[in-house]
Amino acid sequence: MNWDMTTIAVSLLLLAPLAGGGLSLLLTSSRRLHLTNLVSIGLLAAAEAAVMRTVLHEGRVTAFDEIVYIDALSSVILFIIGTVGLACSLYMRSYMDEQVARGVIAAKRLNLFFFLFHMFILAMVVATIANSLGVQWVAIEATTLATTFLIAFWRRRESLEAGWKYLILCSVGISLALFGVVLMYYSSLRVLGDVSSALNITQLQQVALQLDPHILKLAFVFLFVGYGTKAGLAPMHSWLPDAYTEAPAPVAAMLAGVLETVAVYAILRSRGIVDQAVSPDFTGTLLAVFGLISFALAAFFLLIQHNYKRLFAYSSIEQMGLAMVGFGVGGPVGNFGGLFHLINHAFAKSLAFFAAGNIHRRFKTVEMDRVQGVMGVLPWSALALTVAGFALAAAPPFALFASEFQIISALGSSGLPSEWTTSGATLPVVVLLLCSLVAFAGFLYRLTGMIWGTAAQDVPHGEPWSVGHIPTVVLGSLLVGFCWILPPPLQKLLEAASLFLSGR
């Protein structure tokens, strides 16, 4: 009975976005499109909840002859996909209709938007639950293809440019990851033989100790560079600010909140295999060093931004870098902090992009200097922006403070992994703290300038309550709430996932 329930839930995970996308292509009326969207994403979220429950009880779920493999780690990612996806769907209810009404998007292209949106979600779900590393690669490349047109949906010169950069850089990066997958298969072939399951996570985890460490190291480097491009780690991050600025707000929220997380998941997945055969310090050093570089680089780039969407984009690079440091340092605390940070970042960043989307629609500019007095014009969005801004700057009453604290304390207690360097814990902690101070100052300085002051005369005032405000309120309260108490199931899930990542 229970087994059947799980199978149904897993098939629903795949069928909901697939059917939703297919239906969207057939529909034309905006109301029906939104309804389909909400129903399918709602079903997806419900299925995820069911799967999570099973994972909590049984530790892992495999379905369809081991094609699907879900453990605590993938459940955490599924949780993020479901929550942010649902939030975006609600937000789109008001956002897209207004875009159509203003004539920015032709009404008949709306179904294309929803189709691509569903394919995007489907690809991410597949990447998360696939047992085969090869299928995972295919799905992650598919996210690139689905989102390219979403980013360039406005068809302006800038959005075309951003879309092209995104397509080229991510496809190239991801090609390198495919070489990593090939190498992984090469190493497992000699142990498992030429069977199609030789790329399966379940199989690889069992035989990881017999795999050749040289090949695994090389494979991991390629996988890390490839998926790291997708996660927006420096120095392969240059597509990210452009894409986030030009993408419609809900798409930017999905890109920043979920897609990056899925890319990080792919890295962690292969790390779980490589770490068994190679000393964890090797992968840990790679993650921590590149995480630290991304964090520091983005913190300083934050200061020179004039465009609030770019500001959030650089903040994404920064937060991903921080999460990577957490995973790199490892141990139960570091991994827990990293995963928790991924969740919090997804929430805060989608909240930020929702607010940014509202402001952009009203003020018709993305220049920070020309946006003033949001508090008077859009009180709800101003509140959301404040919450998101403080949360992303990791100020105390918000959950990102808790996760950042965990990561830094993990770094402080065990120091950077020492594959190449023998540095102590002090220097990286000091660098991290200094950079987060810089980011904090930059963020607050910029955002207060936007929120207070008086708006120009021609900007209409007032913000009536709409469906689109539900997700902002929910996400905002979650961000505050998670700082004090985690729901017990989520807590248990995160603990199980971090134990898995710590190799126990």
Binding site: S132, G134, V135, W137, V138, A139, E141, A142, T144, L145, T148, F149, A152, R155, R156, R157, E158, L160, E161, A162, G163, W164, K165, L167, I168, S171, V172, S175, L176, L178, F179, V181, V182, L183, Y185, Y186, L189, R190, D194, S196, S197, A198, L199, D212, H214, I215, L218, P241, D242, T245, E246, F301, I304, Q305
Partner: protein, 220 residues
């Protein structure tokens, strides 16, 4: 034993031909010639795959080879030719790195590829002596060409060359990936090429050029 030896030689020969076309693409400025060379390279790739399939007796590599011919020798070059015709660009005049320097760098990349794969080659199967290294070299050269060229179409070809290298690596080193992965990869590559084709058209409409140096409106 003798047949195994000959098999190795033939597969290596095929890989070397792929590398050769790779250099030709690096040195070629005319876009349509680049497309032709890419089609030729894909044909060599399919040939190599058929050889591997024949000597190992693994059925599904034949499918992969057939798909290569269909997708990379027939469909994609035709799409690219149409794009080039519509765009009215015939050759790459200014490059970020000129041809002789590109050639030298590509040569160096081949060396790098050999030295990277050196530690793992002795573990290889009988059929693959240096195919894996050549595959990596092709990937790296494609990557470099992407940086060195400015036209959107050439960048696309460079990306496809990278894919060819990857596929060679998968075929020669691991006798092909599991079939579902291979199908997925083909699907992705095809869609990526089509999307990029549509994109170049839109870029042309928006910028009156497909020179990617014109893509400079988004700055820090």
């Amino acid at each position: 034993m003798i047949t195994a030896h000959i098999a190795t030689q033939l597969v290596d020969f095929g890989s070397a031909l792929l590398l050769l076309t790779c250099f030709a693409i690096v040195a070629q400025r005319r876009l349509s010639a680049c497309v032709d060379l890419f089609a030729l390279q894909s044909l060599f790739l399919a040939m190599t795959a058929v050889l591997v399939a024949y000597f190992t007796g693994i059925r599904h590599i034949y499918y992969a080879a057939a798909l290569t011919v269909l997708v990379k020798v027939l469909i994609i070059p035709r799409v690219l030719k149409r794009v080039i015709e519509r765009l009215n660009v015939t050759r790459e005049l200014v490059m970020n790195v000129n041809v002789p320097a590109s050639l030298l760098i590509s040569g160096a990349l081949v060396m790098v590829a050999f030295f990277i794969t050196q530690p793992i080659i002795p573990f290889g199967h009988l059929l693959t002596r240096d195919s894996l290294a050549i595959a990596l070299a092709i990937v790296l050269i494609g990557f470099f060409t992407m940086i060195a060229r400015q036209k959107a179409v050439t960048q696309l070809i460079a990306f496809l060359v990278m894919e060819n290298g990857l596929f060679l690596g998968a075929t020669a080193a691991t006798y092909g990936m599991p079939l579902i992965v291979e199908l997925g990869v083909f699907f992705d590559v095809l869609v990526a090429a089509l999307i990029a084709g549509i994109y170049t058209n839109r870029l042309q409409d928006a910028f009156d050029s497909v020179d990617t140096t014109h893509l400079s409106e988004l700055k820090e």
